[in-house]
Structure formats: C-alpha cells, structure tokens
C-alpha cells in the first residue's frame, strides 16, 4: 500500500542559531507571520528553501527534508529577505545560469509582463535596483511549476497597486491547495491577509494573541452583482457575504471584512474587467 505524503509544512522541534525551539505544522492555507524583529528570519527562510537544515530537529514538507532533496527544492516557491542575482549580461541569462528551466523562465516572463516589468529581463543584473531584484525574484517564485509550498517575505513591497492586486490573487489561489507562508513586519499588511496567525519575536514563534482588527462592511450596489459575489466569495479576506435584490431591480452586495481597502480595489478591478454597472460603493465600520 502506498502512503500518501502529507501536504503540510512541518517544523519539528527545530532549533537553529537564531531561531529557538520551534514546533509548527502548517496545513494548506494562508499563514501570515508578523515578524516583530529580524531575528531568525534569514535562518527560517534558509531552512524553508533547503539551503540549511536546523541544528536540531527538522523541517519537512510532504514528509521529506528540503535540504536533502533537490527535487523537492524545485517545488518550493520562495522570496527571501535579501534577493540577488549573479552577474550576467541580462537577467534572463542570470536566471539560466542559476538553473531555471525554460518553462519556468517562460512563466516568469509572463508574470513580469502582467506586472509591466518585462523589460527587466533584458537589463544587466547589476543595473537592477533592490526593488526590481525583488520583483524578478517574486515573479520567479510564483512561476514555480506545481509548487508544494510558497514562502514569501514581504511579497508586495516592490509592487505598485495593480501589481499587488494581481499578485495577491495568485498567492490566494495557491493557498487553496498548498501551505502559503507570508512573513511581514507590517502588522497592517498581515491584517489585510485575514490577520496574522503567528508572531515571530526574538527568534520565537507564538500564536497571534492580539485582538482582531475592526470589522468593516462593504456595501456595493449595482446591476449584475452575482459575478462580483462569486469572485469575492473565493477570497480569504471575506468573512461574510450577502446578496439582496432591491425593489428598484438593483442588487446590493454586503461584504463583511477587515480589509476593506484591498477588497474595494478588487471590486473595482472585477467591475472594470466584466463591464458591470456600479451604482454605489460604501464602507462602514461595524462593531465586533
């Protein structure tokens, strides 16, 4: 009988130089870590990418250790705190030099195209700014073929508003199937991603014990709101959703969330894409 590997990302009594004893089990879904300081972050990402193994304990993904399994490493999409590329005449050449295959390179090109940054691939690597380096690295991470886990450090920091929305969509899509771990020093950003689940402080993980952010209600009135409702229902930021038909024939969509700004942008984007008529968009704070 063939055993099926668990898709979970596990840190089993793992201990490093900066990270203290850690036991975590991350099932498929979106997990956000609010990093209160930088201690242990680099070490954590080095473990997750398979560059290092913990001094004690172990890190496993699908019951295998990334640092011992080159094939497994190919399926981990990662964005490290500090990204760099080797010197090369162009970014594409640098990516080939580090062993990125043609399919991933092609997918990276497509993502950069969507971000309006395709030109970066033709630049010399030393001419890229740190932000552009991160943009390329993020595109490369999300172009990973059949990822088993996604681990990203401040994924949206190098993007503009449109880019953020696009990338967030892709990240959320991954979170429906595999563990997605996002580390951010910005608690507001973590809150937008449905609230942080963990806090990393002084090399120790602990569950996020803070009170949840205030709830907001988005009231969207228009014609053909069902499409918007079906799109929004897929998002983890949405806590509740109600669709009612008004006496005048218009439809009213009420969405409960704690990230109204992100959702508002999403709504506007969906409406622009589908050509739905929007009559009103209103946000109110609700208790609890």
């Amino acid at each position: 009988m063939q055993s099926i590997a668990s898709p979970n990302l596990r840190l089993d009594k793992a201990r490093g130089h900066s990270l203290l004893q850690t036991t975590l089990e991350l099932p498929p879904g979106l997990h956000t870590v609010w990093a209160k300081d930088t201690l242990g972050q680099e070490e954590l990402f080095a473990w997750l990418c398979g560059l290092q193994s913990p001094r004690r304990g172990k890190l496993t993904l699908r019951d295998r250790e990334p640092c011992r399994d080159p094939d497994l490493r190919r399926h981990i999409a990662s964005l490290l705190p500090h990204e760099q590329l080797p010197h090369a005449a162009s970014v594409s050449m640098a990516l080939e030099r580090i062993g990125v295959d043609d399919r991933q390179l092609s997918a990276t090109t497509d993502i950069l195209e969507c971000l309006g940054s395709r030109h970066l691939l033709t630049l010399e690597t030393h001419k890229l700014t740190p932000q552009e380096h991160r943009r390329v690295a993020l595109a490369l991470a999300l172009a990973t073929e059949e990822p088993f886990a996604v681990v990203l450090h401040e994924p949206l920091s190098a993007l503009n508003q449109d880019g953020r929305s696009y990338m967030l969509d892709r990240i959320v899509q991954h979170a429906t199937r595999i563990p997605v771990l996002i580390v951010s020093a910005n608690v507001e950003f973590a809150a937008r991603l449905d609230g942080p689940t963990l806090v990393l402080e002084s090399g120790m993980f602990r569950a996020f014990a803070g009170t949840r952010a205030n709830r907001f209600a988005l009231r969207i009135v228009g014609i053909g709101m069902r499409t918007v409702a079906s799109e929004l229902a897929k998002r983890p930021l949405v806590d509740g959703l109600t669709l009612t038909t008004l006496p005048n024939g218009h439809e009213e969509l009420s969405v409960r969330t704690n990230a109204p700004d992100v959702l508002s942008l999403d709504v506007v984007r969906i409406i622009q894409e589908t050509g739905i008529r929007l009559i009103a968009l209103q946000c109110t704070e609700v208790p609890g």
Partner: protein
C-alpha cells in the same frame, strides 16, 4: 533587536565582486584582492617552502624532519586559522546558494568545485615549476638548486605568478574557493613527483621530468604523510561547507 549572524551560520552571501565597469576599476579590484588574501599568500609560501625542503635530503630523522613538518603543516594551518578569509572557506558562494535553492544537487556542485580547484592547482603548480625552470636554465642552473639566491629568485617569481593568476581567476569569477586552490597548489608543489610517479602510467614522463630537474628528489614516505594530511584538510573544508 537585530543581531549579527552567528559565526557558524551558513552565509548566503560571501564573495560578491564589484561590477566590472572599467579598466581602472578592474585593476583596483585586482589590487584589493591581492592585498586582502593573506590566506592565499600563506598557502603559496608554505607550498614553496615544502617544495624547497623536499629538494633536501631528509632521509635522516631529526631537525630536517621537524623543519619539514613545521613548515609544511603548521604554517598553512596557522595561516588558515589566522586569516580573515577563513570564514569564506566554510561558506557557500552566493551563486552556489542560488543553484541549490533552485534544485541543483549540492553534492554535484561540490564535486565540480573540488575538481575545478584541483585541476587549476595542478595547472598552476606545473606551470609555475616550468617557469622556475625556464628562468634558471639560461644561468645553467636547475630550479631550486640549493643556491639561496636562485631559490629566493624562484620563490619571488612563483609567488608573484601565483598571486596574480589566482586573483585574476578570482576576479573573473573562476575558482572563488581560492583557499581550496591554494591547498591544491600546496599539494602539487610538495608532492608533485609522488603524484605523477603514482598516477601517470608512463614512467618515462617522470623520468623525463627528473632528467630536466623538475619534481626531483621528493621523498616518498613523508610525502605520502603530507598528502594524507592535505586530503584530510580538504575533506574537513568540504565538511565545513556541509557538502
């Protein structure tokens, strides 16, 4: 609170050479590397010392053997420990880290790096001895000919040659593990004849080299001891890089 990475942690970024944008910068980069690589120079000097001492007759144990061990083993080990670039020996390069991250087998990379280091070391070691030979031939002497002036001259030329070549290679991004290369040079210079006489199937090649005064007079048993020690050191370095 930020804290510096632990000294034993595997650094993801070790040696990144500055962008080579102009000839002046290239020269400055080369000079900087030449001045900041005491480890390389230490290894090279110790290798040459071994080579000279190997010319002497150390059949009798005692002071000669002591000198041999002191110069051949302690100097390189002290250079290794004292050097600020010691930590770079125990770390993986940024490029290798990226390759490993995107799915390369780290053992494959390690073997390739060791092979690269050893082959470059052999090439440099042999060419340097030939340079020494070519310099001394016009004066009717063989390389390392028990003459202090000639020995010092050859040391100066070979040291300069090594330093320039190693740093030129490093600035080109080849053989970033210069310390491993230097270890290989150490091994080549000290035990060249032993390795040749045992590895090269055609003994007439060795005889020819002997006839021309190259790789001559290397005492076999002590050379094997040093060879073993050098290999152990190379393995230790490999283990430090968690290969």
């Amino acid at each position: 609170m930020n804290r510096a990475p632990h000294s034993h942690s595997l650094s993801l970024r070790t040696e990144t050479l500055p962008a080579r944008t102009g000839r002046r910068q290239q020269v400055l980069c080369l000079c900087r590397h030449m001045l900041t690589r005491p480890l390389h120079v230490g290894f090279i000097l110790s290798g040459i010392t071994i080579a000279i001492l190997c010319q002497r007759n150390d059949a009798q144990l005692g002071w000669a053997q002591f000198r041999y061990v002191t110069c051949g083993l302690l100097i390189p080990i002290l250079c290794l420990l004292a050097s600020p670039s010691f930590r770079s020996v125990a770390t993986i390069t940024a490029l290798d880290a990226l390759r490993i991250r995107y799915g390369k087998n780290r053992r494959h990379l390690a073997f390739r790096r060791l092979f690269e280091a050893i082959s470059i070391a052999f090439a440099l070691g042999c060419s340097s001895l030939l340079i020494g030979r070519l310099i001394t031939v016009p004066f009717g002497r063989a390389a390392f000919d028990h003459n202090l002036v000639i020995d010092l001259g050859v040391i100066a030329v070979t040291t300069t040659t090594y330093t320039v070549l190693l740093n030129a290679l490093a600035s080109l991004g080849v053989g970033q593990h210069g310390s491993a290369i230097a270890l290989g040079i150490d091994l080549t210079l000290g035990h060249g004849r032993t390795v040749f006489s045992n590895l090269v199937p055609h003994r007439h090649v060795v005889e020819m080299l002997d006839a021309h005064g190259i790789f001559r007079g290397v005492p076999l048993p002590s050379a094997w001891v040093l060879l073993g020690m050098s290999c152990a050191a190379a393995l230790w370095i490999a283990a430090r890089t968690r290969l």
